[in-house]
Point group: C2
Chain length 405, copies 2
C-alpha cells in the first residue's frame, strides 16, 4: 500500500515540518511502501499530479532542510469540494487516482477549509465501502481551528511577530518627537496572532500600547481617543491591529481599503486597515505616524521559526500516520495542552466535520473591558509556543532551503 | 580628557556596533577617561543631554548585547546645523558643552547629513583655535556615501532583504494561478539596497525577475510591458522596486502616493510606490497581484544581521578613535575594499566636507540596457557584505537586547 499527502491554504513556516512528520513516520511504518506528494493540494489528486517523495527525500539532511523551508513545498490550492450529491465528478477523480497509485491513506495538511475536504472525502469513501483513510493535519498562522489548543504554524508566526515588533519598537523610539506606529497583523476573523504581540512586554517594553482584535467592535472615534490618551504617557505609541477589524466610521470615507470581492470560500479580501488608520491619525492628531503591514512575511519567515512549533508540526504529522494505521478516518489531529509550566502537550484527534468551516475566536475573557488590549493571562498561553530556535544553516548568507517540486 | 559620541539619521542594525567600537577602543586608549553618549544626536550636545557610557557598559556581555541591538541606542535626530556665519548660537552651545564635560573628541555616527555636521563643527573648532577633534563614522542602509566602498548597516539590510525576499518567493510560488508580487525597498536616491536583491539568484531562484532603481527613469508603459513579458516565462513574477523611483505616467493619477512635503534636509517623503504599481498591474494585466512594503523592518532587523557588517561597524568605530588620537579631525572614516575573493578591507579617512550632502549612486555599468535589472557583476560586490551570522541569544523566544537610555 502507498499513501498520499497534500498541503492546502496559505503558507506557514511549519507546514513542511508536518509533511516531514508524515513522511518520516510512514517510511518506518509496516506496510507502507511509497509516499506520494500531491501537487497544489487536492487538485494534484484530482488531476493526477503526484510526485514520489521517496525519490526526493533521501537523507536525514534532506528532511532537516525541508523542515526549515517555509511555505508549502508541494504547492497549495483554495479548492472547495462540491456537495457530492450535486456533483460527484471530483470524488470519482480522487477515487480513480487513489486506485491507480494504490493509495490507502491520504493526509491533508491545512486549515478549516481543508477540514471540509477531509470530512467530505472520508464520508464519500465510507459510503462507497472503501477502506481508504483520510486524516486532516491542522495548519494555520491564524490559530483559529476549534478543538485544538493551537495550530502548527501559529507559534512561528507569533515568534516572528514578537521579535519583529520589538525591533519596530526600537526603531520608533529614536526621535524625540511624538509618534504613532500602527502594525497591521494577519488574522481574517480571529485575533490570536495580533493578541500574541503582548509577549513583547515580557522584555520590559511597554509596547504594544494598544491591541485591537476583530473579536470586538472597532470605532474610529474610540480609536482616536485611545491614541490621544496613550500619547500623553508615551513618546512613541505602538498600535497592534488585526487586518480583520471592521472599522465603524461615521465621518470617514473608507471605501479605499475594503473590497467587496470574495474568494471561493466567501472570504472578504482585506488589506489596508493600517494605512487607513494612519490617515485617520494624521488627520485627527497630526503627529508623525507610520503604518507597517507585516504582510506575507509573518507567515513564511522560517528564518525566525519557533523550534517548539516546528517540532510539534513534525510530531502531529507523525501522529496522523499512527492514527490512520490504527484505523481512524475523517479526523483532524489535535494538540491538547496538559500544562503551561512546564509546557506539555499530547496529540489527539476529533471528527473533521466539527472543525470544517468553523472559527475559534480569541477568548473574550482575555480581552480588556475597553476592547483595546489583552489581559496578562494571555501571555502564559502564548509564551511556550514561541520558545526555541532551530539550528539554521546558511549558504551565501541566506538560510538553506529544500525545494522538492 | 573625555570624549563624546552621538548617533544620527535613520536606524540601522549595525549603528550600535559602531558605538561599541568607539567605546571599546576609547576605554583602552591612553588619556581618555570617560565616554559620554549624547542623546538624540547633536541635540544632546547642544541641550546638555549626555549620559556616561562607562556607567552603562560594564562588561563584555553588555557590549555584545548592545552590538546586537538594532536602531540608535542613544536616540537620533534630523538636526541640520545652520551656517555659522548666519547663526553661531548652536556652535557656541556645542563648545560650551565640550568645555563643561572636558570633551576633546567627538564622534558622530551617521549618514551624509551627519557628515555635514562633522564638516561644519570641525571647521568651527579649527577656526576658533580649539584642539577638539571631530570624526564622522559612516552609517546608512542606503549605502550611498561617497568615498567609501560601502557603509556599515548596509550589509545587514541587504542580508535581511535577501533572506526575506527568498521567503517571499517561496510564499508566492504555492498557487497555480499567475501572480505578480511587488516588493518595495528603501533607498531614497540610490538603488543599492534594491539592487542587492540580485543575491537571491545565488540560491538558484530566478527571482527577482525585475529590478527597478531610482538611477534610471521609470515609465509605467515600459513597466507593464516588462511584467507581461515575465509572466509568459514565470508563474509567479517577483518585482524589486526602490521606493525612490520617480514614476512617469501619462494616463495614471498618482497623486495618492507622492507628497510634496519635505523634511529639514529637503527630502521628499516617499511611500506607496509598491501600492501604486499593484493597482497598475491589477488594472492593466488583471492577474493576482500583491505589494509588500518592507518598511522599517529592513533597517532594524538585528535578528538577521550580517556578522561581516557588525564586525566592520565595530572596527570602523575603533578606527575613528585611533584617527582622532593621531590628530585627525573633520574626517569621515571609510572602508576600502582590497579584494572581493578573498574579501578584504582596510579602514581609511577622507575630509567630511566632500561627503556631506553628496550621494553615491549605484553604478551605471551594473544596470542592464533595459533598465529593469542589474548585471551579474554586482553580485561579487554584494555577496561578501551579507556573509556570516552573529551568535544571537534569545530570552522568552526573542533576541536579547541592551537598552542604555
Amino acid at each position: 500500500m502507498n499513501i498520499a499527502v497534500a498541503q492546502s491554504g496559505g503558507p506557514t513556516a511549519a507546514i513542511n515540518s508536518s509533511l516531514c512528520g508524515v513522511f518520516s513516520r510512514a517510511v518506518k511504518a509496516h506496510g507502507i511502501e511509497r509516499v506520494y506528494g500531491s501537487l497544489c493540494g487536492i487538485e494534484g489528486i484530482i488531476y493526477d499530479n503526484l510526485i514520489c517523495l521517496n525519490d526526493k527525500l533521501k537523507t536525514d539532511e534532506d528532511i532537516e532542510r525541508l523542515m526549515l523551508t517555509p511555505s508549502t513545498a508541494l504547492g497549495s490550492c483554495r479548492y472547495k469540494l462540491p456537495d457530492r450529491m450535486k456533483d460527484d465528478a471530483p470524488y470519482r477523480a480522487v477515487a480513480k487516482c487513489f486506485e491507480k497509485y494504490d493509495i490507502g491513506m491520504f493526509f491533508y495538511i491545512g486549515g478549516n477549509d481543508s477540514m471540509d475536504t477531509v470530512a467530505k472525502l472520508s464520508a464519500y469513501f465510507k459510503k462507497s465501502g472503501s477502506d481508504v483513510k483520510i486524516i486532516g493535519i491542522p495548519k494555520t498562522i491564524d490559530n483559529d481551528l476549534c478543538e485544538t489548543d493551537h495550530t502548527p504554524g501559529f507559534g512561528s508566526a507569533a515568534k516572528y511577530l514578537a521579535a519583529t515588533m520589538r525591533e519596530i519598537v526600537r526603531d520608533s523610539s529614536v526621535y524625540s518627537a511624538k509618534s504613532v506606529t500602527i502594525v497591521e497583523i494577519m488574522g481574517r476573523n480571529a485575533g490570536w496572532l495580533t493578541a500574541s504581540s503582548c509577549i513583547v512586554r515580557l522584555t520590559g517594553e511597554t509596547a504594544p500600547h494598544l491591541i485591537y482584535l476583530p473579536e470586538r467592535e472597532f470605532k474610529i472615534d474610540r480609536f482616536i481617543h485611545d491614541v490621544k490618551l496613550k500619547l500623553k504617557e508615551h513618546r512613541a505609541v505602538i498600535v497592534a491591529v488585526s487586518e480583520g477589524v471592521e472599522i465603524q466610521a461615521d465621518n470617514y470615507d473608507l471605501s479605499d481599503f475594503q473590497s467587496g470581492a470574495t474568494d471561493n470560500f466567501g472570504h472578504k479580501y482585506l488589506s489596508g486597515v493600517g494605512k487607513c488608520l494612519e490617515k485617520v491619525v494624521s488627520n485627527e492628531i497630526g503627529c508623525k505616524v507610520r503604518s507597517i503591514e507585516l504582510n506575507v512575511l509573518q507567515r513564511c519567515s522560517a528564518h525566525l521559526a519557533s523550534k517548539t512549533d516546528l517540532d510539534e508540526a513534525f510530531d502531529i504529522g507523525a501522529a496522523a500516520v499512527d492514527a490512520a494505521c490504527a484505523g481512524e478516518t475523517g479526523k483532524m489531529m489535535t494538540i491538547q495542552r496538559l500544562s503551561d509550566k512546564p509546557y506539555a502537550v499530547s496529540m489527539g484527534s476529533v471528527p473533521a466535520d466539527i472543525i470544517a468551516n468553523e472559527v475559534k475566536l480569541f477568548p473574550d475573557k482575555w480581552i480588556n473591558a475597553d476592547s483595546n488590549d489583552v489581559l496578562p493571562e494571555a501571555v502564559d498561553y502564548f509564551l511556550p509556543l514561541i520558545l526555541g530556535e532551530p539550528d539554521i544553516k546558511y549558504e551565501n548568507g541566506m538560510p538553506v532551503q529544500m525545494l522538492i517540486k
